[in-house]
Each structure stands twice: as structure tokens, then as C-alpha cells.
Symmetry: C2
Subunit: 323 residues, 2 copies
């Protein structure tokens, strides 16, 4: 089978690609070719795999000829992140709405109704004055996004649902929790500190936490997120149930619990490298996110959240070791 991963050079995308190539098959079919479409080049371990074709250019441009590929399956992960979309409205609309639309139209033009997994986000939820959200959002919760990023993700969920209803694709939207611990440097996402407060101390560096330690948030690990996206791809339509988006499993933790776990894994000196410097802009964005999530439809697919945050930290430490 021939697969496409958009954003395949990124944090989740490259791990998904690695996992798929390691398995060698998806949904019982051998993976012959894996196209990675991203504005950045993928890591070397992906470029070196003979099954990988890397296409490095803005995805919107790539969509013009994408119908010629007739992919059997697509994971659409490419996205501008929340902070970028708040800072640059047009960039967000182009990267998240226009690009998804162009991708869907290319797949529609291809005419073979490929299976399609969309990485939506917990950010579709937010407190509208008329609709206070519950502490724990479920698949049934009314999404009233309070960021442009969340708005685009929700609009794309509905677009994908309609393209699926029309038979143009076989689409499924999975709402990712905040994936942590991300390696590398902080990015433009307002949620970036959820990784920074673990990653930097483990590297012996000071990390700034811009919110109070009572802040609660639904998180997941990279491997469980990859597992979730794969299971959503492999589900039959009956197993997936509806055409609406589902929440992937979440571990609901407070910043304090994250730091307790850091101390349990790496000691109190490491924990003490986390400094609290309240940042109103970040705190405002985060305050509009859910404190936790439940995932009934994901559980139906056999998916479970991380047992605890220590296991998520240990996954990061293991993942960071030289190959």
C-alpha cells in the first residue's frame, strides 16, 4: 500500500512514520511506499529507508498534483500550532484550513476514497460564555473553540465528515491530547511548556513554568499518540461508529503532579530547576483549555491512556538515548 503522512517530518509525524515502517504493514496490508510531505526534511533515519519518498515544500503547493498519487491511506498531521495561529491569523487560515481543504480536494480528485486520519486537537474545546465546559470533556461535549487553532481543527473535522459522507474519502478525526515530552527546543505552541518543564531539567537546564502548578491538563505520550492514530486508521467504520471527531485517551494531570513525577524519576535537584514565572498571555490561552478529557469512543477501539506521568517521563528518557 501507498501511504502519505503530512507533517511527517515533525515530532508526532516522524514517530508515526518510524512505527509504521517498523511494523511493515498497516491494517493487514504491506507498506510499499511512504510519502512524507512536510515543509522541512524528515530525519535521516526516515530518509534512509528505501520505502520513504520525502517531499519537502509547503503542503498547500504540493496538493496541486497530489491526486496523481492515488494514496491508499493518509495521515494528515501538518498544522500551524496554536501560538502561531493567534499571532498570525492569515498564516493559521492558510496552513490549517486552506491546506486541509486542498488536500481533501486532491484526494477527492484521485477518486479512490482513501482512508484518512486527521489529527484534530483537544483545543476544539473552550468555554464560550453561553457554554461553560465541564472539567472533563467527552466525545459528547459541545465544542466552542476559543482559539483560531481550535476553530480550524473543528471546521476541518466537519469538512472531513462531509467528504466522508459523500464517499470522497474514508475519514476519521482524532483529537490529540497535548503530547509530551517533546524533544528539542520550545516551539510556538502555547502548550510548549508542558514539555519544557520536564525536558530542560532533565538536561540540567532551568525551565520556566508560565502557569500555576494547580493547572490541570489532558496529556499523552508520543508512543500512545502514534498507537491511537494507527488504531483509528485500522478501525472499521462500524468500530469507529460515527463520522464526528473522537478524543484520544488522556492522562489528566496537574503541573504539580508532573513535577512530583519528575522528582520521583530524577530527584529533587532536577525538580528544583523548574522556576515559576507567570505569563499572562500563555496562562490566558491555557485557561481556555479543558482540565481533562474522557475518551469513550477511543476506549471502544481498545485504546488506553498512560498509567501515570512517570511512565511518560521514562518513555522520553528511553527515546532520547542514542540509537
Amino acid at each position: 500500500m501507498k501511504l502519505l503522512i503530512t507533517g511527517g517530518a515533525g515530532f508526532v509525524g516522524s514517530r508515526l512514520a518510524r512505527s509504521l515502517l517498523k511494523n511493515g504493514s498497516l491494517n493487514g496490508q504491506k507498506i510499499d511506499k511512504l510519502v512524507i510531505a512536510d515543509q522541512y526534511a524528515p530525519p535521516e533515519f526516515l530518509r534512509n529507508d528505501a520505502r520513504v519518498e520525502s517531499r519537502t515544500a509547503p503542503l498547500l503547493e504540493q496538493c496541486a498534483n497530489l491526486h496523481e498519487d492515488r494514496f491508499d491511506g493518509v495521515f494528515h498531521l501538518a498544522s500551524a500550532v496554536s501560538g502561531e495561529c493567534e499571532d498570525d491569523f492569515d498564516l493559521g487560515m492558510r496552513s490549517n484550513l486552506d491546506t486541509t481543504r486542498a488536500l481533501l480536494d486532491a484526494l477527492r480528485k484521485a477518486g479512490n476514497s482513501p482512508r484518512f486520519v486527521f489529527s484534530s486537537s483537544i483545543a476544539v474545546f473552550g468555554p464560550d460564555p453561553a457554554h461553560p465546559i465541564p472539567d472533563i470533556v467527552t466525545d459528547e461535549t459541545l465544542p466552542t473553540p476559543q482559539t483560531s487553532y481550535g476553530t480550524h481543527k473543528l471546521m476541518c473535522e466537519h469538512l472531513i465528515s462531509d467528504y466522508t459522507r459523500k464517499g470522497y474519502i474514508d475519514g476519521r478525526s482524532a483529537r490529540l491530547m497535548t503530547v509530551t515530552v517533546r524533544p528539542g527546543r520550545p516551539n510556538g505552541a502555547a502548550s510548549s511548556f508542558f514539555s519544557g518543564i520536564i525536558r530542560e531539567p532533565l538536561a540540567g537546564e532551568v525551565a520556566i513554568c508560565p502557569v500555576l502548578d494547580s493547572v490541570s491538563h489532558p496529556v499523552s505520550s508520543p508512543s500512545l499518540t502514534v498507537q491511537g492514530l494507527t488504531a483509528v486508521f485500522e478501525a472499521t467504520r462500524e468500530e469507529f461508529l460515527g463520522r464526528s471527531g473522537i478524543n484520544l485517551p488522556a492522562l489528566n494531570v496537574t503541573v504539580k503532579e508532573m513535577l512530583d513525577a519528575l522528582e520521583a524519576v530524577a530527584g529533587s535537584k532536577v525538580r528544583s530547576l523548574v522556576k515559576f514565572e507567570f505569563n499572562e498571555r500563555i496562562a490566558n490561552i491555557v485557561s481556555n483549555w479543558p482540565k481533562g478529557a474522557a475518551s469513550m469512543r477511543a476506549h471502544r477501539l481498545g485504546l488506553q491512556p498512560a498509567k501515570n506521568f512517570e511512565s511518560i517521563i521514562r518513555e522520553y528518557i528511553e527515546d532520547s538515548k542514542p540509537a
Copy 2:
């Protein structure tokens, strides 16, 4: 003040224009100019009003220069209808999604954050396999639209909410119920028969009802719909409460109750002109619509539904008399 009504030559739009011009003011401000943008020319009684400027061309084309107007208020009613969108996917996307986006961007470019009322629809609701809808949908019900038309309306609600959050417009989305009794000929809307089974018999003609008489549906009259749109425009942001869409008030009636009302108003001979010929395509679309709606947020704005269907028929008869 300077107002724009898109789709202002249409059924609801022309009545809204007439009502606004008759009042002479909106939200306490004198109406100096009313631009009617529509692909069709507005009725003569509007063209003859010195305050009216009629612009007859596809709205998408008109949006290119619309920022120059710096409107104080906009009613965005232009839309392809449900049947058209099911038959022609691209037309629906262009008319309902692209055009709304272009309009919002023109208003954003104008820079004066005009008040903006969007005519959304009860069609945002539909039964997803994972989310059966209640018999009576409320402002809290999770919309999982099952038509392209409903999908576009919902996507635009979220777009308008985000443009409002960013301060580009002061937007409000009001979900119209099926407006009946429409004058003239049947149109492409799957709901067209909800007018036809009253209008044609009153004119002495046979009407075909394509669904069972047990079908229940939320309806409103033209005048109450105009009243609703006006109240939504005039509401303060605090009164409107959130940025999410609201249901306008609905009278929830069955086809049988509609025909009973027709008999009460016009006699049994008129009623006997309605023939039942089941149409699977129409019935399938209608079966995915709610059986009724409740409108808590609209009630907060002082809006109420029609008392009974007889009053809606009488409004039609009165409205049809020569001026």
C-alpha cells in the same frame, strides 16, 4: 447608518429589507443606506426606495471591493439551499463557505468591526451514528450535520465566532427554522414542500407531500424570522451571551397538524388538494433533521415562536394580498 443585506432579493432578505426600511432605524440609528447584494435583482418596492442601492452579481465577485463600503451592519443571508448543495458539492462549497469567508475578509479589511448577523440553519443538527440527536434540539445540542448545507452553515458559525473573538467583526449566528409559507414556486430546498402543501391548495392547485403526515418539524413564519434576525442584531454582546450560534424560536408541528390548520383556515376542500406521494430522496434528507427545536437564548432576547400554525397560514394569506 449603512447596512448590507446579502441575499437581500430573496424570500427572507427582501422581507427583512422591507421591515428595516419601514422602521427607518436599527438599534437606535437611522438607516441612511441599505445595500442589497444578490445574484438576482430585488423586488420593485425595494428598488424604488431612495435609500436602497441594489448590486446584482454573484456575491463572491462583489466581495473583492466590499471593504470600501465600511458598512455599519451586515445581514448575511445569501446561501445555496440544501438540495442544491447535495446535488452540486462544488457549488455548495463556493456559495456557502468560500463566499462567507470572502465576505468576512472584506469586512475585516474595512477595519471598523461591523455588527454582523449570519443566517445559520436548524440543518446544522443531524443524527451521527455516535450522536443520536434528541427529538428537541437546544442551543446545547452537539451539532453533527448530515448534509453539506448543514456542514457549511456550522463551519461558518465557527468562522464568524473566531472573527468576532479577534475583533474583526461583531458577529452573531442565528439558526433559522424552516420558514413557511414561502410564496412563489417550489425551490431546490428539500424543505420546499413545507410551504407547497399550504401555498398550492390555497391557490386551488394540487400539492404533493413527499413525506408521511407524522413527520414533525420546527417552523417559523417570515415575519417572526425577520423579527428574530433584527433582535439578534440589536442585542448587546452581553444579551447575546456567547459567540456560538443560537436557535431562533420554533413552532414544532407535524405535517398532519399543518394540514389540520389549513382545513381550519380554508376548509376541507382545500385540504383535500394535498396528495401524498412518498419521495425517498426528500424523506431521507428530512429524516436527518430535528423533529423540533427549543430556543432558550432566543427567549432571553424576548423572542417567541408562532402561537399555532393557523396564525402562520393567516400571515401568508395577508402577505399575499395586493398592496
